[in-house]
């Protein structure tokens, strides 16, 4: 079963008004179980909109979205996915631990169980010593790690990420990329990852989906398959070849392996 199936989806904002915008036009996308898919494209190509459709934060104008075999709305109500945004968006009045507990709390998990789970999640992102801190006491990178721990807390089969590392510096970003890959490998989570960065998309993904703007649509789907995902992988020729391929796809140049 596929983690996500988006079929013939169109999204039009402000339909029938003078400020009508076609954000997505006839989009089809399938994310396999355990697959890591990046959405990349220029600003306004609708990649965040596509992510929000999968998350059922907005409804599609036409077409259907299926998450783990269920409708997107049902999947959301069952908390079948975890989500993280560009801004960590932690609740500043809650401690780090209680932030991670939030989705568990809303699921009605008992206090002891959610505490144990939240501590595990914090350990996963290497912040087990900071459970009692408030978000304002942490650096941006640490806050983002808490947000990832929070997204993973319900142990969802699907992780949706909207430029989660966009506001971080290069070093922190690379470290978190490696951590994220480790976590996804460990938990077998499928991931849809929105990004601006070509190198980030290529390094993280099994598949990079390239989008173009006005109207937003998918123009290419590039399978990556690096030999390894570590520093050696970052320097391998395959890595640079794929970066070039994605860059060409973004520019709309002729493609070698469009599917």
């Amino acid at each position: 079963m596929s983690a996500v199936v988006v079929s013939s989806v169109t999204k039009t904002f402000n339909q029938g008004r003078t400020d009508e915008v076609v954000a997505l036009s006839d989009v089809d996308l399938t994310v396999g179980d355990g697959e890591f898919v990046s959405l990349i494209g220029p600003s306004g190509c609708g990649k965040s909109t596509l992510l929000r459709l999968i998350a059922d934060l907005i409804p599609p104008s036409t077409g259907t979205v299926t998450v783990a075999g269920k409708g997107a709305g049902t999947a959301r109500k069952e908390q079948a996915y975890g989500i993280a945004f560009q801004q960590a968006g932690l609740f500043e009045w809650r401690t780090v631990l209680r932030n991670v507990e939030l989705p568990l709390e809303l699921r009605g998990m008992t206090k002891a169980a959610r505490r144990t789970r939240a501590e595990q999640m914090l350990a996963l992102v290497g912040l087990e010593d900071f459970g009692g801190h408030y978000p304002a006491q942490l650096s941006g990178g640490m806050q983002q790690r808490v947000a990832i721990a929070r997204a993973l807390a319900v142990q969802p089969p699907l992780l949706l990420m909207d430029e989660p590392f966009g506001a971080l510096d290069e070093m922190t970003r690379e470290r978190l990329q490696s951590e994220l890959l480790g976590i996804c490998a460990k938990t077998g989570t499928s991931t849809v990852f929105v990004t601006h960065s070509i190198s980030e998309a290529v390094f993280l993904s099994d598949r990079v989906v390239v989008m173009s703007a006005r109207p937003g649509r998918i123009t290419a789907s590039i399978t990556v398959g690096l030999p390894s995902r570590d520093d050696a992988g970052r320097q391998s020729p395959a890595y640079f070849d794929k970066i070039t391929e994605v860059r060409q796809a973004l520019r709309g140049a002729p493609l070698k392996t469009a599917s």
Binding site: Q79, F91, W93, S139
Partner: protein
């Protein structure tokens, strides 16, 4: 400790200004183009600070209780009225804010009237409310109603702003957790609104004191500090220090209310106290 020191310094400056003006100011005040721009500095208009303090210790009337006891009792009476008005006003403001946040149409329809309510002169409203006294509620409660009428406004406006303060991503996050309106309110909007609520409550506290003092005067309710100011001011020509003792009491009442309201924040704003950032 430092706060106490600053408070003492502030008090000393106020006394120095008062007494300093009495030294340099003209006893008849300063008149420019037929308008008195600075008050009279004679002992009848501005008694010495020590005269006022001395008056506090002497009996209200010959053989009666000392003035300070009368003033403190009046302040306590008004404090009760203020507290009732503050609580009612804060609750009404809170409910209005929640209703306005929940329904856009309520916000559009109600907010203009909420603002309009504060432009109605209190003296026009007081006789109407005073009429309720003794029939549907005790007389003192009518004063609380007037205090609440002034107090609800900052809470309604501030709280609405606070409830609308969470970022779109916070709201989306709650939606992704399948949290409905009520749980989003409890877990996200309400805690997020606290930094807006507390300044609003302080304003409401001050407004409730003003409402209670003015309300006592305009409804003719006996026993409070507002009434005492009026009573003592009738004796201002023969005993000018006396009315200032009552005003001192009213000022003290305002400070006490402000202090009590700010105590409310302490347990709820813990996360604001730590500021040291850890970098790793």
């Amino acid at each position: 400790m430092r706060k106490v020191l600053y408070a003492v310094i502030g008090l000393a400056v106020a006394v120095a200004l008062w007494e300093g003006y009495k030294v340099v100011g003209s006893p008849d005040g300063t008149v420019l183009f037929g308008v008195r721009v600075l008050p009279r500095a004679d002992d009848l208009s501005m008694p010495h600070v020590w005269t006022v303090l001395d008056r506090l210790g002497r009996p209200e009337l010959t053989g009666g209780r000392p003035v300070w006891i009368v003033v403190v009792q009046a302040c306590l009476f008004t404090l009760g009225i203020t507290a009732a008005g503050f609580v009612i006003g804060a609750l009404v403001g809170l409910l209005l804010a929640v209703a306005m946040e929940r329904f856009r149409i309520v916000e559009r329809g109600l907010l203009p009237y909420v603002i309009l309510s504060q432009t109605v002169p209190l003296v026009a409203l007081a006789p109407l409310v005073a009429g309720w006294g003794g029939t549907i509620m005790p007389a003192w409660a009518t004063v609380s109603v007037i205090a609440a009428y002034l107090a609800f406004f900052p809470v309604a406006v501030g709280m609405l702003r606070g409830l609308q303060s969470p970022s779109a991503s916070g709201v989306e996050l709650m939606r992704s957790y399948a949290a409905g309106w009520w749980r989003t309110l409890v877990k996200l909007r309400f805690p997020a609104s606290l930094p807006y609520l507390f300044p609003a409550l302080r304003l409401a506290g001050a407004a409730a004191v003003v409402g209670a003092v003015v309300g006592e005067i305009s409804t003719g309710t006996r026993g409070g500090i507002g009434r005492l100011i009026i009573e003592y001011s009738r004796e201002a020509t023969s005993d000018p220090a006396k009315v200032y003792t009552a005003m001192l009491g009213a000022a003290l009442l305002g400070l006490v209310v402000a202090g009590l309201v700010s105590l409310l924040e302490l347990p709820l704003m813990r996360h604001r106290r730590h500021v040291e950032v850890v970098t790793l």
